[in-house]
């Protein structure tokens, strides 16, 4: 039940990424290239996704608990700090360099293109290294 539903959620997301054009780095980079070969399509992707999620969450979060888990696990962090802004800034730079964000690159693996596999491998390496550094820093704080 859990695996099947997770697969189906992933499938709906993957089809959405695919037909929306988010899957295509050429299109994504053109969205940001306002002074060049601008393609405003991604405004519609963000708009459609945001409105749907905003309305859907209103109904879902009114329930006592989700279907297969005991409770909702919503982010609790509130701080707008250097880590959040710095991380987001660095992410944007990488996105602008390669043209893929994580949620678009994973479905793009289905295209079988070797460039996508290269991007995802580098992405996972970056995730892993950053997690490692964060864990080391947390250890040091715990000792001190």
């Amino acid at each position: 039940m859990r695996l099947m539903s997770a697969f189906l959620v992933g499938l709906v997301f993957g089809v959405g990424i695919a037909i929306s054009g988010m899957i295509n780095p050429a299109k994504v980079l053109n969205f940001f290239d306002i002074t060049g070969t601008w393609d405003p399509s991604l405004i519609f992707v963000m708009g459609g996704a945001l409105v749907t999620t905003f309305v859907g969450y209103r109904f879902v979060l009114r329930r006592d608990k989700p279907m297969i888990e005991e409770r909702f696990q919503l982010p609790t962090a509130r701080d707008i700090d250097a880590r959040l802004i710095g991380g987001a800034a660095v992410f944007g730079i990488g996105w602008g360099i390669a043209g893929f964000c994580p949620g678009a690159a994973v479905p793009a693996l289905g295209s079988g293109k070797v460039e996508v596999a290269g991007f995802v491998a580098a992405l996972l390496a970056g995730l892993w290294v950053a997690r490692l550094i964060q864990a080391k820093q947390a250890d040091r704080r715990a000792v001190a």
């Binding site: 695996l3 089809v15 054009g21 393609d39 992707v45 749907t52 999620t53 289905g110």
Partner: protein, 146 residues
């Protein structure tokens, strides 16, 4: 690295966006979680419990099957054109991995789910990465002379 024109596709992009939103609503309804690619991937990489890895792997498999389903239905694989060089793919990928870890999310987690919850953190993160991404594309294409 100058780009080439891509077709303006408002209807398909809107339809795809609605599907992305529906998947986020379904995940909240079923598991009570935020649909964030960063969170799903980092859980796979660092690993928590075996059962926890299972649903993440299943979701990633579903995501990868998405364009294959589009291929099966329409007879055409959605275009994936990568207009940048190999070093840019690898450097960009690594930078994205570091950035989304420190920033606690990406376009799906902050940009869609967090903003839909009206989270101030997500709004700040989204504005920040949209600006740095735009500036980066401008510098690469128009300043460094693409």
């Amino acid at each position: 690295m100058t780009g080439f024109e891509t077709e303006f596709t408002p209807l398909m992009s809107l339809a795809g966006g609605v599907l992305i939103g529906l998947s986020a609503v379904f995940l909240m309804f079923l598991q009570g979680r935020i649909m964030g690619a960063t969170g799903i991937l980092s859980g796979l990489v660092t690993g928590t419990t075996p059962g926890d890895r299972g649903w993440r792997a299943a979701m990633v498999a579903g995501m990868i099957a998405g364009p294959l389903l589009v291929l099966a239905v329409t007879g055409q694989m959605p275009a994936v054109d990568v207009p940048v060089s190999w070093p840019m793919i690898l450097i960009g990928g690594f930078i994205v991995g570091v950035g989304v870890t420190y920033g606690s999310g990406c376009t799906s987690g902050h940009g869609v789910c967090g903003n839909a919850r009206l989270s101030p953190r997500s709004m700040v993160a989204t504005v920040t990465f949209m600006i740095t991404c735009g500036v980066t594309v401008y510098v690469i294409r128009h300043v460094m002379g693409g």
